[in-house]
Symmetry: C2
Subunit: 267 residues, 2 copies
């Protein structure tokens, strides 16, 4: 900082060059000196300090906070470090940043819940339950109109219609009804979908560029109730997913969860 320093040449040189093998003495010392765990003048510290000031209402929603250079100076680190911290906080919705206008505490902190959507098998096994899977039905046929609309394919498209049941500790957990475009992923015709679920097969073999997911509550139909071993009109949690590779619709699925299912997330 303060620039010029005509003789110093390369930026961080003063730290490591002259003093040969000595421990760096500048900002780094503060970081290394404290004993135990994560006490460093790093970007995480900056993030935490900023968060602290927001939570203590030292900086209130709508307030403009000091500019990067000022914060960097105050906290004893480089602007890049402050930048990284503030960038993360902005991405999480705590801050609003605009060039020239500066950085403000978000007035409507749109909290971004990060929903991990894992493969069902891993979700179940992750809870220490035994996963099982059964293929109920699999057939190649032309899709109904609403699926065509969803995926943006023509009605004569060659598709695979699959229904299957996922079980946790032997109990029905999720009922999956899925349409897969054979044109988009020809190899699935050869896959043994009684061994591996279509869900998991697709994750491994058909990466997508665009996906859409929606969550809602529905009543169990007769069939669905029988399969999930519950009663008609039970409230079911429904996830509908559609994925595309470029413009080509790959698959569209309805995932119906047994009563009592809760999807969790921390913010």
């Amino acid at each position: 900082m303060s620039t010029t320093t005509p003789t110093t040449t390369s930026t961080a040189g003063s730290k490591a060059v002259s003093t040969t093998a000595s421990v760096p003495l500048t900002a780094k010392t503060r970081a290394a000196a404290p004993s135990a765990a994560t006490t460093q003048t790093n970007w995480q510290s900056v993030r935490d300090e900023v968060l602290r000031r927001i939570h203590t209402r030292e900086w209130k929603p709508g307030d403009q906070i000091p500019k990067e250079v000022e914060l960097a100076e105050e906290l004893g680190c480089a602007r890049a470090t402050v930048n990284r911290a503030l960038r993360e906080l902005a991405a999480e919705g705590f801050l609003d940043r605009r060039r020239k206008a500066g950085t403000r505490v978000a007035t409507h902190p749109v909290r971004r819940a990060k929903l991990d959507i894992p493969v069902i098998r891993l979700e179940i096994e992750g809870r220490g339950q035994k996963y099982a899977y059964g293929l109920l039905y699999s057939e190649r046929r032309t899709p109904p109109p609403e699926i065509c609309t969803n995926l943006g394919v023509t009605p004569d498209n060659d598709m695979l219609h699959i229904t299957s049941l996922h079980l946790a500790d032997g109990k029905p957990y999720m009922f999956e009804e899925r349409w897969v475009s054979v044109a988009a992923t020809p190899q699935i015709a050869d896959a043994d979908l009684s061994k591996i679920s279509a869900n998991e097969w697709l994750v491994l073999h058909a990466p997508y560029t665009k996906g859409d997911i929606s969550f809602s509550a529905v009543l169990a139909s007769d069939t669905e109730a029988r399969i999930l071993r519950t009663h008609k009109d039970a409230p079911l949690f429904l996830i509908e997913r559609t994925t595309w590779e470029g413009e080509n619709g790959i698959t569209s699925a309805r995932l119906l969860f047994a009563p009592g299912y809760r999807m969790h997330s921390a913010i």
Copy 2:
């Protein structure tokens, strides 16, 4: 700016110094030369190129990808740039990175759906509908046991019990039942909760450090059905939220959405 640069020395100097006012000629040229939009040798390009290779299955799930220095060389940028791109992709679940072990394409791409959880008012207004809000009930009382457990407070805690209804275009949209710890946010006692929803008031005045959210499907009770102007045993989408400031429970809420509600997200 630029200042000084007496003998060049400083790292990127070669770019700008010698050729005076000319356009930088090295890596930057490739960036600036193409005509239209976002063609740059920046971290976004790196990210896109890596994503492309994943989608084209040039790099398959489980594969180890080149190390940062190699990619940087191949793509003509600094390692820091590659690092940023790969870091983002890892955060989104496309890559698994481990020190020394290198970077691999994620075998189970746990897609992280970013669920924006806005203030209800903004959600409704964002769709161009008219938002309205009615306070149904508000009373200070001691909470029932399950709320105490949720929030980790003692049963004698002074709390505010609030129920309210949010409407879109005059139609019931969401029924909110909420407990707020008055000890944690004393100012709420003075707020006029018939003007501003507790939801929105809390967002503005009670930032939290920890939040928990869960989604499920339930049947409408008699009361709930009446309030949401639907019939008993209708399937309702339920969001349960609890937030803490440090160790202090602030609020716990049940948000019951009218039938037909769908929560959306793109992946």
